[in-house]
């Protein structure tokens, strides 16, 4: 509570409002002055923001460390690709179905998995990725195996007789921005709702939460499903942008990237995840770092997070934010 008052007090003074306007302007008009490759980097970052928000909900608000985000991301990608290839459905149908299919899949997987504790849960969620990979490789009639699905249609919108496709990177930037913005809004609403407070209670002290009558297990299951929905939407956005999907989507690479965004950015905050996706995805994409070098950097970051910055790198941002508000951190 005191933190909330503090925020309200400092809100009025200082340089925060100009900073917000500046950032909003930068975000809105980025395509006008940023090269198409940098724009591509930002689009990828915004796509990864979605599964990262889901994981953030899981880790940051219920304390569950899951590696299955990459699996649901892949499920969303495949679902969306198959829908648009076979039924030529408009983008909004794809996104919503991808989210719902991932969520629907998370329910039967989550019921047994959430009975497990700590490391067992981590191993089990790792299993979901491996199984996803095996299915995408071997269900050849549906997924075309290792060949993957290519030439997935670019997203198009149709309202009655009127329709248009999103083709250019700039157009996709606005689409991704809109979806990411909606996801952040959804995340904010979930976290600020009474349910969100219950989730925090579970994270802080599960036994106590249960003792005061919070159905902890049901909450965990709901959050697990919600995180899968976020990931599925992200996967849909990803596949329509790249227009290809293959079993490689179920590599550890994706899960690791999502994990590092959340943990490196700062668990349990929105700004942290946004910051994390810019730092770990946009920057490395922009600098064209080779994948293996990037993964080595991620590995070093994980070690730094464990041994030096247990709260991720977001506190650094908070310090800047406080300084803008005229405070000393």
């Amino acid at each position: 509570m005191s933190q909330l008052q503090e925020t309200q007090q400092t809100w009025r003074s200082g340089l925060r409002l100009p900073a917000i306007i500046l950032m909003a302007g930068l975000v809105l008009f980025a395509p006008a002055f940023v090269g198409s490759y940098s724009l591509h980097a930002v689009v990828i970052a915004m796509i990864f923001l979605l599964p990262a928000l889901g994981l953030n909900l899981l880790v940051g608000y219920t304390g569950l460390l899951s590696l299955a985000q990459g699996a649901f991301f892949g499920v969303g990608a495949y679902a969306s690709a198959l829908l648009s290839i076979h039924f030529n459905t408009p983008f909004y149908v794809n996104v919503v179905s991808a989210g719902l299919i991932s969520g629907a899949l998370a329910l039967p997987l989550g019921i047994p998995a959430l009975r497990l504790r700590a490391t067992s849960f981590v191993m089990c969620t790792l299993g979901f990725i491996v199984i996803g990979q095996a299915i995408s490789k071997n269900w050849i009639s549906l997924t075309r195996g290792d060949m993957g699905l290519s030439s997935v249609p670019k997203p198009y919108f149709a309202l009655g007789p009127w329709s248009f496709s999103v083709v250019s990177t700039a157009a996709y930037y606005y689409l991704a921005l809109a979806v990411a913005g909606l996801a952040i809004l959804a995340f904010y609403l979930i976290v600020r709702s009474p349910a969100g407070r219950n989730m925090i209670a579970i994270r802080e002290n599960e036994t106590l939460a249960e003792a005061v009558g919070i159905p902890t297990w049901t909450y965990k299951l709901i959050v697990f499903v919600l995180s899968a929905i976020f990931a599925g939407v992200g996967g849909s956005l990803y596949v329509h942008y790249l227009t290809v999907v293959s079993p490689l989507t179920f590599q550890m690479y994706y899960t690791t990237t999502i994990l590092i965004i959340v943990l490196g950015g700062g668990v349990g905050t929105i700004s942290g995840v946004v910051f994390g996706s810019i730092l770990f995805v946009a920057l490395s994409e922009f600098l064209r770092v080779a994948p293996e070098i990037r993964m080595i950097a991620y590995g070093i970051c994980l070690l730094l997070i464990v041994f030096k910055f247990p709260k991720g790198f977001a506190p650094v941002i908070d310090k800047v934010w406080s300084a803008l508000g005229g405070q000393r951190a």
């Binding site: 047994p112 191993m123 199984i131 095996a134 690791t256 293996e292 080595i296 991620y298 590995g299 464990v306």
Partner: protein, 290 residues
């Protein structure tokens, strides 16, 4: 039919031996540290790469390359153990997961960055076939089984009789009491980890002539297969691990032989999930120790 059955059984025992040598290190590390080492398979990969490298570049013989590979893996494990694993005594489980994942990423991609991502051909070992019970079997495979038996006899003796082994058992039971009676927990953790990782390296070199291909991502697959084994064997249980590894090896080889090769690698994870659901404490113990 019977011939095929016997052949798959033999194959399974060989695969099981490979898994057993890797998994026993992981289970021992878990016993003293309560950390699932997601980087364990990478030491297997390091062993294979080290051996491949000295054979290709320095024209060393296979036996010398085995010594070099195990020594290098042990050295690496000492460094990782000293700076990371040792410090995870009593830390929350997330730290163990994340730090070992980090180590796994670093080692795996370092191998790719240094030697390229392509598959490499491993040229060495004893691949002459010999006749055994009417089945043709490469000498290397027989060697793997013999080494596995020796390793497990050695470990069993060590854990039962040596001072180090006794401290390991003590640490796996109660860390605080160990500290009170003067056991250096951190050093026990360090050396247990070094032994485990070196065994993984040894398994890597022994398997290389049979697997033939060497690539950066090979450790990940081994880690994935080690997980169901250590759960089946019961975490921290050395003898259980041997039996569990044999079960998985034989099951995989039967699935590969009778259902289809592409399903072989799924056996492990289906087993893992089923075990976690119904018997998270393993096949051989009545209740969970951890």
């Amino acid at each position: 039919m019977l011939n095929l059955l016997g052949e798959q059984l033999l194959n399974g025992i060989v695969t099981g031996s490979v898994y057993a040598i890797v998994a026993v290190g992981m289970t021992m590390t878990f016993g003293v540290l309560r950390v699932i080492n997601f980087a364990h398979g990478e030491y297997f990969m390091v062993g294979t790469f080290a051996s491949w490298f000295v054979i290709e570049k320095f024209d060393l013989g296979y036996p010398q390359s085995v010594v070099f590979a195990v020594a290098l893996t042990a050295l690496l494990a000492i460094v990782v153990g000293y700076f990371l694993m040792r410090k995870m005594v009593g830390a929350p489980f997330e730290n163990g997961v994340l730090a070992t994942l980090g180590v796994s990423l670093i080692l795996q991609n370092l191998a790719v960055a240094l030697f390229g991502g392509s598959y490499k051909f491993f040229n060495g070992g004893y691949i002459e076939p010999v006749e055994l019970f009417g089945y043709g079997l490469a000498q290397q495979r027989i060697l793997i089984v013999i080494v596995c038996v020796l390793v497990f006899i050695g470990l069993d003796l060590m854990v039962t009789y040596s001072r180090m082994g006794k401290s390991m058992r003590a640490v796996s039971q109660n860390i605080e009491c160990c500290e009170i009676v003067g056991i250096d927990v951190q050093s026990v953790v360090l050396w247990t980890f070094v032994i485990g990782a070196s065994l993984a390296g040894l398994s890597g070199v022994l398997t290389a002539p049979v697997n033939v291909s060497v690539y950066g991502g090979m450790g990940e697959l081994i880690t994935f297969k080690t997980l169901p084994i250590i759960i089946m064997g019961g975490l921290g249980n050395v003898r259980g691990t041997l039996i569990a590894a044999m079960i998985l090896g034989i099951a995989e080889s039967f699935v590969a032989g009778f259902i289809g090769l592409q399903f072989r690698d799924s056996v492990g994870f289906v087993t893992l999930i089923l075990m976690l659901m119904w018997r998270p404490h393993g096949l051989f113990s009545l209740q969970s120790r951890f």
